[in-house]
């Protein structure tokens, strides 16, 4: 019987991911600065929009600033760039060193992702405090709270995003370049996940189309729930849709990964 707790090896993976990230201090600082400036820009643009008017697209200034502020925080928790190198790792054959070891590759990648998110979260809190003092948003939260549902939705969104990133990584079984599709994905995500504006300011037909994708479930619905802009009867359908996306994407990923592994050439020599 092994003396090692089951998840111990993954905790070491998580710690070493951090150690690796801290080696290059400059890139670490620049990466956080980029995140900060992106949030700062979005908040500045909306502050300018509201400079001469009290409402825009059905949102009061406080509501909109609160929305953008929250979406900034959520984006940093749900999305992750920790798997950006996965396709290259697979295509170049570097993945081989992981595949021959008694370690669950997905759990290992999952813990890398978690390491990334924990770090993001820590810095987002810090950066949010700075943004808070600059923009001074007055948060308007409803009386009825749905914290548990909110946390569950955030966790599901992070899982959906992780699986989508794994799917992009799987491109490495066939091609070295996953940057093109990934770039498209992020562009699409920015417009349809509610990062730049709340989705309900879009025309109805476009909203309907956007709701056929997993993107609105990656920040928008969570914030709408937090701001009390969802009806209680919408909670179950949204939860079920998110679960369906999770299961569907897992099944697609399983198929792609199995096919990819059989196609794997462990290139390099």
């Amino acid at each position: 019987m092994s003396k090692y707790p089951k998840l111990f090896k993954y905790i070491i993976v998580l710690q070493q991911y951090w150690q690796n990230l801290f080696v290059y201090r400059m890139s670490f600082v620049v990466w956080r600065l980029r995140q900060f400036l992106s949030s700062f820009t979005a908040l500045s643009v909306w502050s300018v929009v509201f400079a001469n008017q009290k409402t825009a697209f059905g949102y009061a200034q406080d509501e909109m600033i609160t929305y953008i502020f929250l979406v900034t925080v959520l984006y940093n928790i749900i999305l992750s760039s920790s798997l950006n190198a996965l396709s290259g790792e697979i295509y170049s054959g570097s993945m081989s060193t992981k595949l021959v070891k008694p370690i669950n590759v997905f759990l290992s990648l999952g813990f890398q992702d978690l390491a990334h998110k924990i770090l993001n979260f820590g810095f987002v809190i810090l950066e949010s405090l700075i943004l808070y003092f600059i923009f001074k948003p007055s948060f308007i939260f409803p009386n009825q709270s749905y914290e548990l549902i909110f946390i569950a939705w955030v966790a599901l969104a992070a899982l959906i995003c992780f699986i989508i990133n794994l799917l992009f990584g799987s491109i490495g079984f066939w091609s070295p370049d996953s940057w093109g599709p990934r770039f498209l994905f992020y562009i699409f995500l920015d417009f349809t996940a509610g990062k730049l504006y709340p989705l309900d300011i879009l025309p109805n037909i476009i909203q309907k189309i956007v709701y056929l994708t997993p993107f609105p479930y990656m920040s928008y619905v969570q914030i709408q729930l937090l701001l009390g802009r969802l009806q209680p009867n919408q909670i179950l359908p949204i939860t079920l849709t998110m679960l369906a996306w999770t299961v569907g994407l897992i099944l697609i990923f399983k198929l792609v990964w199995q096919k990819g592994l059989k196609n794997y050439t462990a290139m390099g020599q």
């Binding site: 290059y24 081989s96 021959v100 008694p102 462990a266 020599q269």
Partner: protein, 333 residues
């Protein structure tokens, strides 16, 4: 009773589909619409068995199928056809119980974290392979002393020399005391001193743990020093499997006669005894090297001693690398 084989390969095939691009810009444009693929038979119907404790050298030219075979044995590649069993497991299942018992070391790939000291990878492997603390300490100390790397354990891997990195790779791969080692070009790019150090180490590991080792190398010295048995693969097919010295019996057509003469002997005179490979005069020393058919070597030597002013004569087998080179070049397989 002879030990049971722990590696069994039966009619293994591994084929790859390779895209064939037509030359030039037009070829690139055409490939946007239609692509031609070719099937490459990297491993084509090979079978062999390896017993516990054996050290086997895989010999073959680039692209012969050596590395592909090792990758199938480690569970990295899915076999197109055939059966493979290592330690009683199907490698493709990639069961942790199997993975804890072997190591794959690839000279051109590394498992060490590039930006962290090697010690960090050792600690990670300790956790991954669930090596108990005392075993880890003991193995690490022993390996570190044997390979003399104690002073570099806490230096970033990217700052180490190739030789130092390779030694650390070996340590990372052996901390869990694997029973089976797949070594793919472990000495590639190393200087001769470092090559020798690694060979000595691999030999010692085999003896201490009765480990089964398959080794591929471009350096015949690696194979000669470490392996009693050799498997030669050419274009995906197994063309020889047996004792290394039997390659000489099977493929060497000639023996080498090295001669030292007391006075000058012309090349023409020597040619009637065999093929003259070398004929030279160094000051007052006259030397020559002849290639003669193996069966006639003794008789030719006797004739030479009788007819020419021979001061010294040696009959030698040709070097094994020369024989293998000849085998591949002639296609006489």
């Amino acid at each position: 009773m002879s030990p049971q084989p722990i590696i069994q390969v039966k009619n293994l095939r591994r084929h790859f589909k390779v895209y064939q691009k037509q030359p030039g810009l037009m070829g690139s444009i055409k490939s946007l619409f239609k692509r031609k693929y070719k099937t490459v038979k990297a491993v084509d119907n090979i079978s062999f068995e390896i017993k516990r404790g054996e050290v086997v050298g895989f010999i073959g030219q680039n692209g012969a199928g050596k590395t592909t075979t090792l990758k199938v044995l480690s569970g990295l590649l899915f076999p197109t056809a055939g059966e493979v069993s290592v330690l009683g497991f199907d490698p493709w299942d990639r069961k942790p119980e199997f993975q804890k018992q072997f190591s794959l070391i690839m000279g051109q790939k590394n498992q060490l974290w590039w930006d962290l000291p090697a010690m960090e990878t050792f600690l990670l492997n300790k956790a991954i392979y669930e090596v108990p603390n005392d075993q880890f300490e003991q193995s690490l100390n022993k390996l570190v002393d044997l390979l003399q790397v104690r002073d570099i354990l806490n230096i970033q891997v990217r700052k180490l020399s190739l030789g130092q990195r390779m030694k650390c790779e070996l340590i990372a791969a052996l901390l869990h005391n694997p029973q089976v080692l797949f070594l793919d070009e472990p000495t590639i790019g190393l200087d001769v001193v470092m090559q020798k150090a690694l060979r000595d180490f691999i030999k010692a590991y085999n003896q201490e743990f009765n480990a089964t080792i398959i080794l591929t190398s471009h350096y015949m010295d690696d194979v000669k020093e470490l392996c009693e048995r050799a498997i030669i693969i050419d274009k995906g097919k197994l063309i020889f499997d047996g004792k290394l010295h039997n390659i000489i019996d099977k493929y060497a057509r000639n023996k080498i006669l090295s001669l030292v003469f007391s006075q000058a002997v012309t090349k023409q005179k020597l040619e009637k005894f065999g093929q003259v490979k070398e004929h030279k005069q160094n000051g007052s020393a006259y030397t020559a090297t002849l290639l003669v058919p193996r069966k006639k070597a003794a008789a030719v030597a006797s004739d030479l001693l009788k007819e020419l002013p021979v001061e010294d004569l040696n009959i030698e087998e040709p070097p094994i690398e020369a024989i293998i080179r000849e085998v591949f070049q002639s296609g006489n397989v």
